[in-house]
Symmetry: C2
Subunit: 196 residues, 2 copies
């Protein structure tokens, strides 16, 4: 049904099909010290042992400086977007020039934690320090999957359950549908481990 859609319509439509998406800000720094911030809705869990995340980066749109910085410094931060900052976060998707830091242009605050080289977003409540493990080229469309090692995590103590689950709803975490629509979440239920 989407074969005859024009390009923009097709992009909006196909982006809606995978379902609800995470909203994260990726913080990086160039080898010359220029910071960069980019919203991504493509972060996903890859594994707990070793602790790994994946993100998909499309180099021909806004995160191109992000990808260059990750290749050069090997480090990045992932910062959950919340209800207070989703407009600022969305604004990082504009095509700023290389010499502009999206932190400043979008009114978000750089934060440096425990000598980790890449900048965190102070206004975020869940912050993850990541290191590039491997880049996988998706030759089908020229995108790149980055396999990322989780080096450290900063969260408010109050959101962590004794069993390890994080109540990210209590941080006013937001999610994305399609390219540009932001939603808050409301807990329905935590379900027990399923048995036949």
């Amino acid at each position: 049904m989407f074969k005859n859609f024009d390009d923009r319509k097709r992009v909006r439509f196909i982006n809606s099909l995978s379902g609800i998406k995470s909203a994260n800000l990726i913080g990086t720094i160039s080898s010359s010290g220029q910071t960069n911030l980019s919203i991504v809705s493509s972060a996903f869990h890859l594994g707990a042992s070793p602790a790994l995340l994946g993100i998909i980066i499309r180099p021909d749109i806004s995160p191109r400086h992000t990808l260059e910085n990750i290749r050069s410094t090997k480090v990045l931060t992932l910062n959950h977007v919340n209800e207070n900052i989703y407009r600022n976060a969305h604004q990082t998707s504009a095509r700023y020039k290389r010499e502009v830091s999206e932190f400043e242009a979008c009114s978000l605050t750089e934060e440096y934690l425990e000598n980790f080289k890449a900048p965190f977003v102070k206004e975020s409540h869940v912050k993850v320090a990541l290191e590039l493990s491997r880049e996988v080229s998706i030759k089908e469309n020229g995108t790149h999957m980055l396999i990322l090692k989780i080096l450290g995590v900063w969260i408010p103590k109050r959101i962590m359950n004794d069993d390890g689950y994080l109540n990210i709803e209590d941080t006013q975490a937001v999610c994305v549908s399609g390219l540009d629509t932001y939603h808050s979440i409301q807990k329905l239920e935590r379900l027990p481990y399923a048995k036949p």
Copy 2:
């Protein structure tokens, strides 16, 4: 901080870090006609041209029959989970034996659309027919990324905007945090294309 967690705690914790996750049911059929249904929270958008989705499959847990079926028949369906069926969907994560269809065991209905070989979930409102394009091994942890071609889409007409965006919130779509916690979504705002 998570290095000393026991295995189950670590799994719950690391699964919470990527943020809010999509909730989808993957429908497959074996070469001998046995159907299978498996919840995944790892589906992600890969690209619009060509129209591609990705999913991560961990063969050592419940979706192992799903992976075997996809390798053998090359086709699968992706079905959004909604508020009416999230408990049934979660139940598909139990380790059923190969001869059990999760459709029957979890009270969900097989549906076949336009001669597509793999079964859809009748109770889902957004249904996508997919074909395996390529399997990428994640050697870091033995998981597999499946690159999937979008062949067809079935949605209620009322949720499609003229510009291609799908109001998946109007289908009572749900999302997941961590391993086992389900949330409904509430629209905050659709934002315009960002410019510097």
